[in-house]
């Protein structure tokens, strides 16, 4: 009972962390854009889902099917239109990091401003599948299971895409050695745009899934972006498996501490765990040392 409770809670929370971090690790690991507006895209997708569900009577799962390609398209455009000039200008050198931080910080304000205009500062939430499902004597909300299932499916799909396809191989090549990729005929910029787009699809999907069980407001994006960044760095930049492991570690740490130590320390333990991992492995769990 207790064990099942802890396992379920740990997996759903950890899975959510992993899911929202996967897109960011692609954007940062491959396209080298430290995207601070990441959380805003997530929240935008959550609002879009809320709108479609409550006003247009869509099923949230159907919205998910729409938000993935929309997220891809929007992010791909952001990269082509907004990031490309910066990438060109910096020659993908160290200046890109600073420039992309500043530019996406601006984008963060812009997107949040639009959200605030459209929806105000209120919390939004809708109910979807919030019935209990009994698993080995433990009750868990159906919506969380749906989210967990989709997170796993999306993660697996992405993993297969990256490891089993030509596109994926090229993307990984860019992630590992951006300067050598052109030598084997890879168009780094085109691939970066694709990776950035896929990252956007993931985060949009994440927003839709999140809205199924968490209340959200226009100003909450930063919280998610920071959580995602922590997971990405902890797992090792550009590493999907790292995201998964780091996300689950944080999820389980939070659940275990809440249950057995003191719920007041959950966030402290999360950050302590993150700091500890970085101290022991400065490049993250699965990261290679910067060379």
């Amino acid at each position: 009972m207790l064990i099942v409770d802890v396992l379920l809670a740990g997996f759903t929370l950890g899975g959510m962390y992993a899911l929202i971090a996967m897109g960011l690790t692609l954007q940062y690991g491959v396209a080298r854009i430290m995207n601070l507006s990441y959380g805003e895209v997530l929240v935008m997708s959550a609002f879009g889902t809320w709108f479609a569900v409550t006003r247009l009577d869509w099923n949230p799962v159907a919205v998910l099917l729409a938000s993935l390609p929309l997220g891809y398209l929007a992010s791909w455009l952001i990269y082509r239109v907004l990031m490309m000039p910066l990438v060109r200008r910096s020659g993908a050198g160290p200046a890109l990091e600073v420039d992309s931080i500043l530019a996406t910080f601006g984008l963060l304000f812009l997107l949040q401003g639009v959200l605030l205009l459209a929806f105000g500062g209120n919390y939004y939430s809708y109910s979807y599948l919030s019935q209990p499902v009994d698993i080995l004597g433990s009750q868990v909300a159906a919506n969380r299971l749906v989210v967990l299932g989709f997170a796993a499916a999306i993660g697996l799909g992405l993993y297969l895409l990256l490891t089993r396809s030509r596109l994926g191989t090229a993307v990984r090549a860019v992630a590992v050695a951006p300067r050598f990729a052109p030598l084997v005929g890879i168009d780094v910029w085109r691939l970066s745009a694709i990776a950035f787009g896929i990252g956007g699809a993931l985060v949009a999907g994440g927003g839709t899934l999140l809205s199924m069980f968490l209340p959200f407001s226009a100003t909450m994006g930063v919280v998610f972006a920071m959580k995602a960044l922590v997971v990405v760095i902890m797992g090792g930049v550009g590493n999907l498996l790292g995201c998964l492991v780091a996300g689950l570690m944080l999820g389980f740490a939070e659940t275990l501490v809440a249950r057995f130590v003191d719920p007041g320390l959950t966030l402290a333990v999360n950050f302590a765990l993150f700091l500890l991992v970085l101290l022991l492995r400065p490049a993250g769990l699965f990261g290679r040392v910067a060379r």
Binding site: L13, G121, N122, S125, S138, T219, T266, L267
Partner: protein
């Protein structure tokens, strides 16, 4: 134009006679010295962005807008002279930062020279701007601040007014109310309590913790959780296993939703189910529908009162959203009081403060008279009944409903 000229002359006369009074109120700006202004400038700096934005958007800003709208639709605030003067608004965004809020208030005072400033949202921000209001002699109608220090603060800041009580008040009132129900045999002695690790949760939780034993209860679970915790299910699972009679969560809006959701999912249905801020929000009812019935929280309202109903209706008409059932009506009451005080004594801030402190006002919550510049007649406990969040304690207050205990079971 004729009327205007005569009006000016009259105001000049009044100014002269008022000048003798004015030196006593050094802080009062030049606008206050004119007894008959063309308009009344109202300023506010509230969080349109940042973590406080949801609180502002739910409780504060709709009321401010409604207030301005109603006054100006009527042609303005009717001064003693009989003239109606419209209000003009200057607004800023404090970006949920104390420092921004302080600066914005300075700006409203010294640059925009507004006549009155409506308060920001939340305990921390209200206290942060307190010294600035005090320095410039502006009345501070803190309608969304819950602080145990309120009795000290009113001594320190003679222009400050506190409307929402103390954390101690809510915590203690809740437990002593529950004692009545226990003595009536409706509930047992086991209490489980969780509170958000923020000023609100700590104050209310601390007050409740102190008096739990005194009122014959046993605290079987007492933990805090940090603001921003995304998953509260481990705590609720643990609490459910303890099978308490009374569940109390001094929580913030997103947690309130999460706790209720999780309790419903795991079938945790104690005899008393109490959650914190957010329970009284329209969002709560929209999300949980009929399942809200029986849920308790702080605040409440006598929803059958026609004045209250009229307020709800107007709020919805003008702002497109329903008010919450905790602080919204109280913010509105504070605004009604401010308007009436201005109608009685004009835009002289010192006089308005004096009137607010000593006067009796006719509001949607009946006759209001502050005691030590605080409002004692609060609903300490409320409960959702028949789709409305109604006040249940203090039980001797007019309009108090008997509580529904045990809480009805969650519906799927």
């Amino acid at each position: 134009m004729n009327t205007r000229r005569s009006f000016l002359r009259r105001s000049a006369l009044l100014t002269a006679s008022a000048a003798s009074l004015a030196f006593a109120t050094l802080a009062a700006g030049p606008a206050a010295a004119q007894a008959g202004p063309d308009k009344i400038r109202i300023g506010w700096a509230v969080a349109k962005t940042g973590p406080n934005a949801p609180g502002v958007a739910t409780t504060v800003l709709p009321n401010y807008k409604l207030w301005v709208e109603e006054i100006n639709a009527a042609g303005g605030i009717q001064l003693k002279s009989g003239k109606r003067v419209p209000v003009e608004v200057v607004e800023y965004d404090d970006r949920s930062s104390s420092e921004e809020a302080v600066r914005a208030i300075e700006r409203l005072v010294t640059q925009d020279k507004v006549d009155f400033i409506l308060p920001p949202w939340g305990t921390g921000t209200n206290l942060a701007v307190g010294p600035t209001f005090h320095k410039h002699g502006y009345p501070l109608l803190a309608a969304t601040a819950v602080t145990d220090r309120a009795p000290d603060l009113v001594k320190r800041w003679p222009n400050a007014f506190f409307f929402l009580g103390t954390g101690h008040g809510y915590g203690e009132a809740l437990v002593s109310y529950l004692e009545q129900e226990r003595k009536a045999g409706k509930i047992g002695t086991k209490v489980a309590m969780m509170s958000v690790a923020d000023g609100f949760g700590v104050d209310l939780g601390g007050a409740a913790r102190k008096v739990v034993a005194k009122h014959g209860f046993e605290l079987v679970y007492d933990k805090t959780y940090p603001v921003g915790t995304q998953d509260l299910s481990p705590m609720l699972n643990e609490i459910k296993a303890l099978a308490p009679d009374v569940f109390i969560a001094f929580s913030y809006p997103p947690d309130t939703l999460g706790i209720t959701d999780q309790a419903k999912v795991i079938g945790f249905n104690p005899k008393v189910f109490y959650t914190g801020v957010g329970t009284q929000f329209p969002l709560y009812k929209n999300k949980f529908g009929a399942n809200v019935d029986g849920v308790m929280s702080l605040g409440g309202i006598d929803a059958d009162d026609p004045a209250v109903q009229a307020y709800f209706r107007r709020h919805k008409e003008v702002t497109g959203q329903e008010p919450d059932r905790f602080a919204s009506p109280i913010v509105w009451v504070s605004l009604q009081m401010l308007q009436q005080a201005i109608e009685r004594v004009g835009v002289d801030r010192a006089a308005v403060s004096k009137e607010l402190a000593g006067g009796t006002f006719d509001t949607i919550l009946g006759q209001v008279k502050l005691v030590d510049r605080q409002w004692p007649k609060l609903w300490w406990v409320g409960q959702w009944q028949d789709g409305e969040f109604r006040g249940i304690a203090p039980t001797d207050r007019a309009g108090a409903r008997p509580a529904v205990i045990p809480k009805p079971a969650w519906k799927p």
